[in-house]
């Protein structure tokens, strides 16, 4: 049974829109607090070794400095198993930029100035930060992110490649990248010296996070508190893209600082520079992709072998090649992930971890295979569209990739694409078009609960500790609740972003709308079951996320087709992207306005990934040297021209009561490949290494 559409499916304006355009929406650091203390972190300037000596006499002597906290005097943590969060617990330095202390002062200026006066001596040890495919210490992790198997091997790829009429065997690389949400990771931490519980929480955090409940449970564990003693509040979040999906070291540092000045709120905002070592990043990848096909372009083999890095202190193995397992119908398939543990900051989630870099490799290789077979790239993909999931054998809940490709081709004017690469010139510019497939799994995470309360006079409140990081969650959850309760949009207010609310899972894996939305539907139905249509004021009922047995029976993924047109200046190599179009199949779209923004936002980040983004690790120092917006380029307004997204009008009847799969990440998947393929079509030059910069296109 699906919910009766009334406001679901309509482009409701954002419920938080007015607060955001007028600037009154208070993000973590903006929370007014009394008598704040300002924190400025100290960071290691070596990549590996030990802190031998810290001279903080000058710093501590500055008027207005309250404390300099280092490993010598920081409170001991109750749980240090997660080495990323084991902050200031020893003299050991595991990567450059790691926290080695924090200065607390009455003003931010004093804290920063004093931090500059702290002298640190190190016993330096040799470090190693360079990822290469020929390293002898690459290892197979137990599993990769998402709990997927590290390797898969079906049939005999080597034999199939040897026998194939047409083959592609190439190496594709993507660089280290940083999420860089516009809002730096910020925390205001208050340690209640009286203990407080049960009257007041021991620890209160105003935090910028994609998951108040996971930050709460992590910090409770690390500091030896019960979860009820910790409250995490985060109604507005200035973007995250995965980097705020879990507690990071700055949360722990802020709490250690708050303990040092117990009772006073400590404000800590990472600087943009600091975010490059402390807030996660996307691993660089080296991907070998092998494709084999017969003369007609029917694939016989696909192999995708990824090499990537992780940090020595904590493993994060990205699932780069996992998407390839279900994408095309080849009887012989192999995927693998090998990891080098290096003296680098801890990598983590960045928008579509796995698919975003993985589909650069796979989808550029598909373009190469199409060329080698003399086939249109859309036709090649259509010929290899599997009837059921090649990996699991399960039926698709809805695989409409080919429809997306064909619909996009018609809308984009694909028939006008130059057949021979590098042959169309307009003035000084070479022009071309490219296409790539896109996909993202349907994830729903158990563990959410919602409560519905009736306040009288027709007004309902729905409570769930969800997060709106710009996705529009606040708005779509309100729509979903209004329909499930059968009342107007304006009668419902949804409360999110507070661990005092019923538990909610992370805003990640494009799972929010499905997980929280289906939970809200269940809670609304429970409410109506108990109280009917005429509840007494004060009536309250809740429910947990319902099971979805279909999730085990069907293979459930969103799909999409990404189209790009590029113009390349023949003399300078400058690349412009005048048009991008995405056609997506994502199940039901709850709110076309916010959905379109998610899609085109993801595609814009994909354009940025294609042409601009690269974190440069200086292997001599272990330092990301381009650690600000002047050097780590992200797309600006002038880089982005016409980006549009449409979607198939559909419902995935297997995707729970909403019929919706996720939309937050699919927009970035395949976007960079479409641009790379368009660059090839325009210039005849095949670029297999991101980003595609003008120097690569000069001959």
């Amino acid at each position: 049974m699906t919910v009766q559409d009334r406001v679901v499916g309509t482009p409701s304006p954002r419920v938080d829109g007015r607060a955001k355009v007028t600037g009154i929406a208070a993000y973590a650091y903006d929370r007014p607090v009394d008598d704040p203390v300002y924190a400025h972190p100290l960071q290691a300037t070596i990549a590996r070794g030990r802190v031998a000596a810290i001279d903080d006499v000058a710093a501590a002597g500055v008027k207005g400095v309250l404390a300099v906290v280092t490993h010598r005097d920081a409170a001991r943590l109750a749980d240090t198993e997660d080495a990323e969060l084991s902050v200031l617990q020893s003299d050991e330095v595991a990567f450059r930029g790691q926290f080695i202390g924090v200065v607390l002062a009455e003003t931010p200026e004093i804290a920063r100035h004093a931090a500059g006066l702290v002298r640190v001596e190190y016993d330096e040890e040799p470090h190693d930060t360079e990822l290469r495919a020929d390293r002898t210490d690459l290892y197979a992790p137990e599993q990769v992110n998402g709990g997927f198997a590290t390797d898969t091997d079906e049939g005999d790829v080597d034999a199939a490649m040897a026998a194939a009429a047409v083959t592609v065997d190439e190496i594709y690389t993507t660089p280290m990248e940083h999420n860089n949400p516009m809002e730096p990771h910020s925390t205001v931490a208050i340690w209640n010296p009286g203990g407080g519980f049960p009257e007041a929480p021991r620890l209160t955090l105003f935090d910028s996070t994609q998951s108040v409940h996971s930050v709460r449970s992590t910090l409770a564990r690390v500091f030896g508190l019960r979860p009820e003693q910790v409250r995490v509040v985060s109604p507005y979040v200035g973007g995250g893209f995965g980097s705020k999906g879990m507690a990071h070291a700055h949360n722990v540092l802020a709490v250690l600082a708050a303990r040092a000045v117990a009772g006073r709120p400590v404000k800590l905002a990472l600087t943009r520079h600091q975010m490059f070592s402390l807030a996660g990043h996307r691993t660089p990848t080296i991907q070998r992709v092998r494709l084999g096909a017969d003369e007609a372009g029917r694939m016989t083999a696909v192999a995708h072998e990824a090499v990537e890095h992780t940090s020595k202190i904590k493993e994060f193995a990205e699932q780069t090649a996992v998407g390839t397992r279900m994408m095309y119908a080849a009887p012989n398939r192999r995927t693998s992930h090998r990891v080098a543990a290096l003296d680098v900051p801890v990598p983590s989630w960045m928008r579509a971890p796995g698919e975003a870099p993985g589909f650069f490799g796979l989808e550029v290789a598909m373009d190469e295979l199409a060329a080698a077979c003399g086939l249109d790239p859309i036709e090649l993909r259509a010929r290899n569209d599997p009837r059921s999931d090649p990996e699991s054998g399960r039926p698709w809940s809805g695989r409409h990739l080919v429809r997306c490709l064909r619909e996009g081709a018609a809308r984009f004017g694909w028939e006008d694409r130059p057949v021979v690469p590098g042959t169309r010139r307009r003035g000084r510019e070479l022009v071309g078009m490219g296409v790539a497939s896109s996909t993202y799994p349907y994830y729903r995470f158990p563990g959410s609960r919602a409560v519905v309360a009736y306040g009288g006079r027709g007004r309902y409140t729905v409570r769930i500790g969800a997060a709106d990081i710009g996705t529009g969650a606040w708005t779509v959850l309100t729509q979903i609740a209004a329909d499930a309760l059968g009342c107007p949009l304006g009668a419902v207010s949804v409360e999110i972003g507070d661990s005092g609310l019923p538990s909610a899972t992370v805003a990640g894996g494009s799972s929010g709308t499905t997980s929280w939305g289906s939970t809200i539907v269940a809670a609304c139905r429970s409410f109506r079951r108990v109280y009917g249509d005429d509840p007494p004021p004060g009536a309250e009922a809740g429910d947990d996320m319902p099971e979805n047995p279909d999730a085990e029976r069907y293979s459930m993924h969103s799909f999409g087709a990404q189209f790009a047109e590029v113009r390349v200046d023949a003399d300078t190599g400058e690349i412009r992207v005048p048009r991008m179009l995405g056609v997506f199949s994502v199940g039901r779209v709850i709110n076309p306005r916010t959905a379109r923004s998610q899609f085109i936002g993801g595609m814009t980040m994909g354009l940025s990934m294609a042409l601009l983004e690269r974190s440069v690790l200086d292997h001599r120092t272990g330092h990301v040297i381009n650690h600000d917006f002047a050097e780590y380029l992200i797309a600006t307004n002038a880089d982005v021209m016409d980006v549009d997204a449409v979607w198939l009008d559909e419902e995935d009847v297997h995707a729970g009561p909403l019929g919706a799969r996720g939309i937050g990440e699919i927009g970035i998947v395949g976007a960079a490949a479409a641009i790379a393929n368009a660059v090839h079509n325009a210039t005849g030059i095949r670029v297999r290494d991101l980003p595609i910069t003008p120097d690569l296109l000069l001959r």
Partner: protein, 168 residues
Amino acid sequence: MDARITLRVDGRDRSLTVDTRTTLLDALRDHLSVTSPKKGCDHGQCGACTVLLDGRRVVSCLTFAVAHDGADVTTAEGLAEGGEPHPVQRAFLEQDGFQCGFCTPGQICSAVGMLEEVKAGHPSHVTDDLTGPVTLDDEEIRERLSGNLCRCGAYVNIVAALREEADS
């Protein structure tokens, strides 16, 4: 060293004592609790802190508060007179010109300042005729707002919002 200054912020006179190292942005945010200007980089590289200073758009993280005693500062909050959104703010709402909203107050102040610059005939890098009046087409809008980064990628909708403004 401290200094006593007065700023007129969103129509209200505010006197405060600032460290001479305090940026205008931190004076607004940390001293006056005016938090609509955001800190995205503190280096003049993102535009999140854009305010109108004596009517001109500036990145408030790149200027010291002490240098602006007596100045008039308008933030996104102040553009919404009596709580009613400014036409540019309404256009952002209409076109969904934002997602997380963190860059948005800066985008809006920048856009309002930019529209004034266009009215005054200031050319930009993409203006062909440096002496005539400026036609605010999409290319001009994009160029003139490129100092305001948006990681959510709302540019297409921001341009649509300002196209609406340019047409009106």
